[in-house]
Symmetry: C2
Subunit: 294 residues, 2 copies
């Protein structure tokens, strides 16, 4: 028995004062109203209203119950509205996790624009490359680079593709042996990124073991070392491209086979995504479509 509907009908009945009118107003049959009210009375174990053929009269019990029923329905409406607000309102917090390097480069300008367009959305951005559990940490969105499929608990929207480039400063290259094949790297000072899955193997062609005197968890830090001519780095293109374009660093082994990764926007829910989040993801997609060749 759907007690809630029964209560709603009871309140309506108390207002309209007629089973028939309630039936008309709700597009149902009299019999249904009668049954439903009867069921509610059964459930409560008390009569809510006296039916005399022409007049309905609330019982003592009915009067008290009516009052409480109205409050209950109000509370329910409240709860529904609360959800709806949180869902459809663009206001609200958005807790986002993103890779450090990406955050410092592209995302900083991207989200600056986004915040300008959506002043009511509050951003809470955690930059970091440690693998965190988005759900456990309560993140609404995570930006992840991946070459493989994504954890099945998440939906992943592909945003852009990127690759890595082996970078060095012109000065470094001039002072050291030429690099023509991936294997040549083993005799150079190759910086290692702390969180890199393969540790000290760069995924060029079949993988090249490298070694070097710098290990750091920031590709930007690494870039500065590269620019100073200290060594080579295996750097995402969104970090190094500008410096390559400006000539500060140069790419080596450009023709070698390197993994192409996809940047995903990850969000945990399947059915219902808050509009603020939808808006954010759309923005990400559009931004990368405009600014990058996917």
């Amino acid at each position: 028995m759907d007690k809630l509907r029964a209560i709603k009908l009871f309140v309506k009945l108390a207002n309209l004062g007629s089973f028939t009118k309630v039936a008309e107003q709700t597009n149902t049959s009299k019999s249904m109203i009668s049954k439903e009210i009867g069921r509610l009375e059964d459930d409560l174990g008390a009569r809510l209203l006296h039916r005399s053929t022409r007049n309905l009269q609330l019982t003592h019990v009915g009067e008290g119950y009516l009052q409480r029923a109205i409050e209950i329905l109000e509370k329910l409406d409240d709860a529904d509205n609360f959800v709806s607000d949180l869902q459809h309102n663009v206001r609200g917090k958005l807790k986002i996790n993103a890779p450090m390097a990406l955050g410092i480069t592209d995302l900083s300008v991207l989200f600056a624009d986004f915040m300008h367009e959506n002043p009511d959305i509050e951003l809470d951005i955690h930059l970091g490359d440690e693998s965190v559990d988005l759900v456990e940490q309560g993140f609404d969105l995570g930006l992840r680079a991946s070459s493989r499929a994504i954890d099945s608990n998440y939906v992943g929207k592909p945003l852009t593709r990127f690759t890595y480039k082996v970078c060095a400063s012109p000065e470094y290259l001039a002072k050291h042996k030429a690099i023509n094949l991936p294997q040549d790297l083993s005799e150079h000072n190759c910086f290692v990124y702390s969180y890199f899955q393969g540790k000290d193997v760069w995924p060029i062609e079949d993988g090249v073991a490298v070694k070097g005197n710098l290990k750091v968890n920031s590709t930007l830090f690494m870039m500065d070392a590269i620019k100073k001519g200290l060594g080579l780095g295996f750097i995402p293109d969104f970090v190094c491209q500008k410096m390559i374009d400006s000539g500060e660093v140069v790419e080596v082994l450009a023709e070698a086979n390197k993994p192409r990764l996809t940047l995903y926007a990850l969000y945990p829910a399947r059915h219902f995504v808050p509009t603020k989040l939808v808006k954010c993801i759309r923005y990400l997609e559009d931004w990368f479509k405009e600014n990058k060749s996917l």
Copy 2:
């Protein structure tokens, strides 16, 4: 969809943190819980909790909804308890309507005893012989004398049977013509009771037209006039019996056919009767069983 049950299950789920445990505790299947929560989420248009295989995590929405849901359930409990209290509690008011004459004679002692036994029941007794609508006036109980069937809106418990007696004082009878047949009454001073259905026809045998110089809406007032030897009265036996026994008045036409009426306890509801009322009706039944021959 039974939203209420869904809400209950959601609250349980939030507490236990596992679909399976909820299923066990409610003696249902996991699938049912899953479905029901899913339905609630559909209805709300938002996801209430993130399911990762090992941990359930409330959504922002879920947290807010949980809080509200708990309040709603409390309110519902409140409402139910309110009804239950009013229903099962012996405390409370009892608004009773009864015929004036009966009230002054038997009921006064009866209810004195009843109140003594049930100090927590508050009585609100309206004595009067006008026909009142019990429901409209908000009476819990009405005592009615009737020879015919009762209004179908009410349940009527028969309490006792009674009849009427033609009474006169010995002095009156000594001074006037003898009364041997009903027709003889037409030559006597016969008092008329104001609310009597047949007005000035006494329902003896086939009915006897009478006339007299007193019309009053109280059989007790009438009794006093009779005792003084002013005339004859058609009096309920519960009013006149004692005086007949004591010899103050005597009955005439004792053998004539007079209507036997039944005193009913009338109460409006069919399904649910508050226990205080049940108790009162039981008391009435018992009292009349002991003190009168039905």
